[in-house]
């Protein structure tokens, strides 16, 4: 897997976008597998059914950090429906690919985003 990261991956790893916590997030999604060494939390703030703000915190390899960064970029400003349609493959493609061995373990960002959105929708449901 060495040297198989695209420049894009390394760019996002070196200078991740939207990194950190949103203290007053509307919802949070956490996924991961401690055995693989990847844990990811996505924080979202929603306004007009759109992702108004998004941040991440990630413990994991360069791929995990890059996918986290990428998903925040992809999701920002999207409607919840649009955001739910972003797939793992979309993330990998936007990063110009990931080493195949990393596709399974480290490409969790889409899952974390979906989880955050679902948590948000459930909360809204309960509030009705």
């Amino acid at each position: 897997m060495t040297g198989m990261y695209s420049e894009k991956v390394m760019e996002h790893f070196r200078k991740p976008k939207n990194m950190g916590k949103i203290e007053d997030a509307d919802a949070v999604g956490t996924v991961g597998n401690p055995v693989c060494g990847d844990l990811m939390t996505i924080y979202i703030k929603i306004k007009d059914n759109k992702i108004h703000d998004i941040k991440f915190q990630t413990f994991g390899c360069a791929a995990a950090i890059a996918t986290s960064s990428m998903i925040t970029e992809l999701a920002k400003g999207k409607t919840l429906d649009e955001a739910l349609k972003i797939t793992r493959d979309d993330v990998a493609n936007e990063l110009n690919g990931l080493p195949s061995i990393k596709m399974h373990c480290s490409n969790l960002a889409a899952d974390a985003l979906h989880k955050a959105i679902k948590n948000y929708l459930q909360k809204k449901e309960r509030e009705k």
Partner: protein, 391 residues
């Protein structure tokens, strides 16, 4: 950018003197050591001269050394070679082979392969520093135990086993004792006769020699079944046209190791101790492995909230080459079996960093590393959901 290589446990640069010694055997004395003519004789002389040098480093007889294609092959030949000689024992109560749970994959996977063939293997646990329990070893021995294979020093955390005591127990119980000394050789004086070792594995590329060559010490009189069959080279134990340039390189590397050991040890240990001292000043950083019983060039840390690969690549961006454990393991995405065996959680294991020093490292390099590392750790902790202290 100047590069700083701190991954000597993965592999070392080849010493200039070693390459110089090898070169004539590519261009000029390129004969096959089995050939009768002058080219062959030159090659044969070089082969035996190198054997002498390896034997001299270990203080053993020349005929007790055979050349192999590396540490992995040496381990495989030693363990399978003895196991296949004791094939019928498989049908008895075990354990037939005793090893440790922190061996290199060259030993572990070989043992697992033998397990599938019916051999019973005991994988001894280790304590939090990575040392096996001698009492437990003694208790584990059965009358059908024919082989103990326990590494001299661990390739990840650098812990040195009580080899002499193990050898004593093996001898008293009439059990053959193999040790994988790939990481230890050249860093500490080793004499198989003084520590009752019957078989000992060496790999050239961990001691400033070329890759793809190794050696196996086999105590005189011990009989081994080959795993590679062919022209009968190396007393029939390892057939194939001898890799003369490689073997000359290993021979030279052994000669240098012997000559330089004292000086190198002083130099490397001083840098290593400074490295450990300075790095442990980082908040929530810990040393893995034994505080004293460790290889002179090994420094192995763990940082709360940090994942190893990110740390490595960040160091790499600063020109520093390091490792999270055995380089091999990085393919598997599994936390190191060694770190799990010493009791770390998977998350802790993933947060580990191995810095392994070599003879050409300098104090300046070490200072640079200890300057740069805290920033990197800070940055990664900022991204990390596992670093609670950030607010």
């Amino acid at each position: 950018m100047k590069k700083i290589y701190l991954d000597h446990a993965a592999t070392t640069p080849v010493d200039k003197k070693v390459v110089e010694a090898m070169l004539p055997y590519f261009y000029k004395h390129y004969g096959n050591a089995s050939s009768l003519h002058s080219f062959g004789r030159k090659a044969h002389e070089a082969l035996e001269e190198s054997r002498k040098k390896v034997a001299s480093l270990l203080n053993v007889k020349e005929k007790e050394i055979i050349f192999t294609a590396g540490g992995t092959e040496s381990d495989n030949i030693a363990i399978k070679g003895i196991a296949y000689k004791n094939r019928e024992k498989r049908y008895t109560k075990g354990p037939h082979i005793i090893t440790s749970s922190i061996e290199h994959p060259a030993v572990l996977e070989t043992c697992k392969h033998l397990e599938m063939q019916g051999y019973k293997i005991k994988y001894l646990p280790v304590d939090k520093h990575g040392i096996i329990n001698i009492d437990e070893l003694e208790k584990t021995i059965s009358k059908n135990t024919f082989l103990i294979t326990i590494m001299y020093a661990n390739n990840e955390i650098g812990t040195i086993q009580p080899i002499k005591e193990i050898g004593q127990i093996a001898r008293e119980n009439n059990i053959i004792f193999h040790t994988d000394a790939v990481q230890a050789i050249g860093k500490t004086p080793i004499d198989p006769n003084k520590i009752n070792v019957d078989l000992l594995s060496i790999s050239s590329h961990k001691m400033y020699g070329p890759k793809g060559v190794g050696a196996l010490y086999i105590r005189e009189g011990l009989s081994i079944q080959p795993i590679i069959h062919g022209g009968g080279h190396e007393r029939g134990i390892r057939s194939s046209t001898e890799n003369i340039p490689g073997i000359v390189g290993l021979g030279k590397a052994c000669e240098l190791a012997k000559k330089r050991m004292e000086k190198d040890t002083k130099h490397i240990k001083k840098m290593r101790d400074k490295l450990i001292k300075n790095i442990l000043e980082i908040e929530e950083s810990y040393l893995n492995g034994h505080p004293q019983k460790r290889l002179i060039n090994n420094a192995h840390f763990r940082f709360t909230g940090i994942e190893g690969e990110s740390l490595l690549l960040s160091l790499d961006d600063k020109g520093i080459a390091a490792s999270t454990g055995s380089a091999c393991s990085s393919k598997k995405l599994q936390p190191s079996h060694v770190l799990i065996a010493i009791g770390l959680t998977p998350i802790e294991a993933h947060g580990s960093l191995r810095l392994s020093l070599g003879r050409e490292n300098t104090q300046e390099e070490i200072s640079y590393v200890t300057d740069v590392l805290p920033e990197i750790i800070n940055r990664l902790r900022k991204i990390s959901p596992l670093w609670k202290k950030q607010e």
